[in-house]
Symmetry: C3
């Protein structure tokens, strides 16, 4: 059932070509645009407070990524988030680095109060900080925390009334009632920048063409992990992380329902 | 004659190494820098209002790209544009997303009033919005409009006293008197971000080493379309849009007068 | 002795995984993040003045890059630099484009007054401008100046009480007493954007795991020049600067003490 729903999304996304508005960081913004295109969406990245609401009104989904926030982009994020809620399109929130500094954590909690977020995607430490947990962080990197990722995802989904996607060695997606684990992936996904951010773009692209946001979250997350695994397998001797990045985008762009069904491993 | 003029530009650009100043978006800024280098120019990307005029004074051409404008970058664009006009170097304007939001359209029209633009490069919808046309837009993507691209290019060139370059399935370049159509290209040029922006960088690089701006516009546009076609032909099984991006830059960097003359198709 | 010190750094960096905070330009910010990861560090790129000091407190080294400074990022740089000095972590300064405009030169000199900089990495023109020299510049590109690079490096190190790294056809590193020259490299390192910026990230990554900053500076500089040479040698017919960029990152990510020792050429 879930498998069939997700398989259908691969067909719908190519036809629907959802417009995905991003307010994101300037480190991986190009990667996010290309990941959106690779899966069949159209990216827009306007950030001026004077036009974000107008741009959201043209969009099918919104990504908010905290990677390099400052006061000005945060204001744009609030306007965009409220416009998305008003229009009824899904908001995907990527709390990059939350937990690392008080500024980030406070803004994230403020954002969740003011905007209804459909899907949150982060690593365990970031998501843990969102629900009030304290963990030792190292910048934007994850460290281990004291509750299982399954519990964390479920608790986050329930407490924040959202769908929680936690990326890691295995990925966990929970809507508070159902919790799904994905066993795909490769450690090299952590050796390049942007794979988390691109995952949020993939999730939002799927979310832009369906009301079944739980399936969209699973689709986006599993596409990244499966593509990351396939790209690694395609590397030949003498190829490092530069080539890995290129082949990762290749694999996202070639992903379809058949490749996905044959490759995805639910745990 | 035109062919010979353009062939000569390939030699002149390697010798002249024009400095091309950009005030552009932060999605494709890296692509624009590398495209400029690939064709033989040198990119500069300063945006601080305190130094843009000084930087323009060192440059041979200026690119203004509206991809992620806000009030602060717009002010820098005006200063840079006026400095370019004063110095007498060509200004290439890429009206990304114009027509999608009132903010963008108003700023674009304001910019055209205050700065003499030598060459405008956009897709049909964006250019249509510049001359007062109304079209349904989807973010920064083009949709079909009601006049032919040939008419649109010619009318834009005449009305705005500029050279108009309209990218699309076939490309149209007009100076208001002559109109040229290019048949090269590949649909995959629309499957990665930045190909339009990079085209403006290529055009500006050529415009920085000649007074024949019509030839420069044709040269820059046709290099991108031909490179896009050649990159696609070089893809092998299992390669997707990640590899396509890499090979596109490869092809731009290897383009010379001979490859160009053998490959370009005027319609 | 120096060789052995540097060989050891390759092992220490993989274990130590230094967190390298950057306040850098938005042209090559993604390249810097990936170069940091490729060598074994973890990049962070926060720029909001409200959190830079907190982020620096988590970091092992700080990179300040002037590529696209404006008043707001400059303020963040000062705060980050002071926090780094207070914490006692190394500051690597990349004076991109200094000498090209008064704005850049004044800010650079102001920065050096207010922040203790451990290592400066630039091309000869930029570094020359830092010590009060006047050279004809072309935007962010180097032109020849009137003193030898060896003298310039030594003088800069002494005058500014720092380690000076001058990139070029051969690279020169001086701590004011010892001066080292590296003969590796390839002209193609100048045909793509970001190789200088990435060098600063490599240097800072090494500097984040040792007190021997002179060795760290030599290690970072030589890794880039050797990787650039190896990447060029790996190109096959039909590959241009797009593929070169990818293979450059590949080579950085595969660099270890053995490859380095066999390949590095001190002059």
């Amino acid at each position: 059932m879930l498998i069939d729903n997700i398989k259908e999304l691969f067909l719908k996304i190519k036809k629907g070509n959802p417009l995905v508005h991003h307010i994101t960081n300037n480190v991986t913004i190009n990667d996010c645009a290309n990941a959106t295109l690779a899966i069949g969406g159209s990216p827009v990245m306007a950030t001026s407070i004077e036009e974000v609401a107008d741009m959201v009104n043209l969009a099918n989904a919104l990504v908010i990524n905290f990677g390099t926030i400052d006061d000005s982009t945060y204001e744009a994020m609030l306007r965009a988030g409220k416009a998305a809620n008003k229009k009824g399109i899904p908001v995907v929130f990527d709390p990059v680095g939350v937990g690392a500094t008080p500024f980030r954590t406070e803004r994230a909690i403020d954002f969740l109060k003011k905007v209804d977020v459909s899907i949150i995607r982060g690593n365990a430490t970031e998501v843990f900080a969102l629900i009030g947990g304290k963990a030792a962080t190292r910048g934007v990197d994850a460290v281990e925390i004291t509750i299982s990722k399954e519990e964390l995802a479920k608790k986050t989904a329930q407490q924040l009334n959202t769908i929680a996607v936690i990326s890691g060695k295995h990925d966990v997606i929970s809507n508070g009632e159902e919790t799904v684990k994905i066993g795909n992936g490769d450690i090299w996904l952590t050796r390049i920048t942007g794979t988390g951010c691109m995952t949020a773009s993939l999730i939002a692209s799927f979310a832009g063409i369906t009301d079944d946001l739980f399936s969209a979250a699973i689709a986006g997350m599993s596409v990244m992990s499966l593509a990351g695994e396939r790209a690694k397998n395609r590397l030949i001797d003498g190829e490092g992380i530069g080539t890995y990045r290129v082949k990762l985008i290749d694999e996202i762009s070639m992903m379809d329902s058949q490749i996905w069904e044959e490759g995805v491993r639910f745990l």
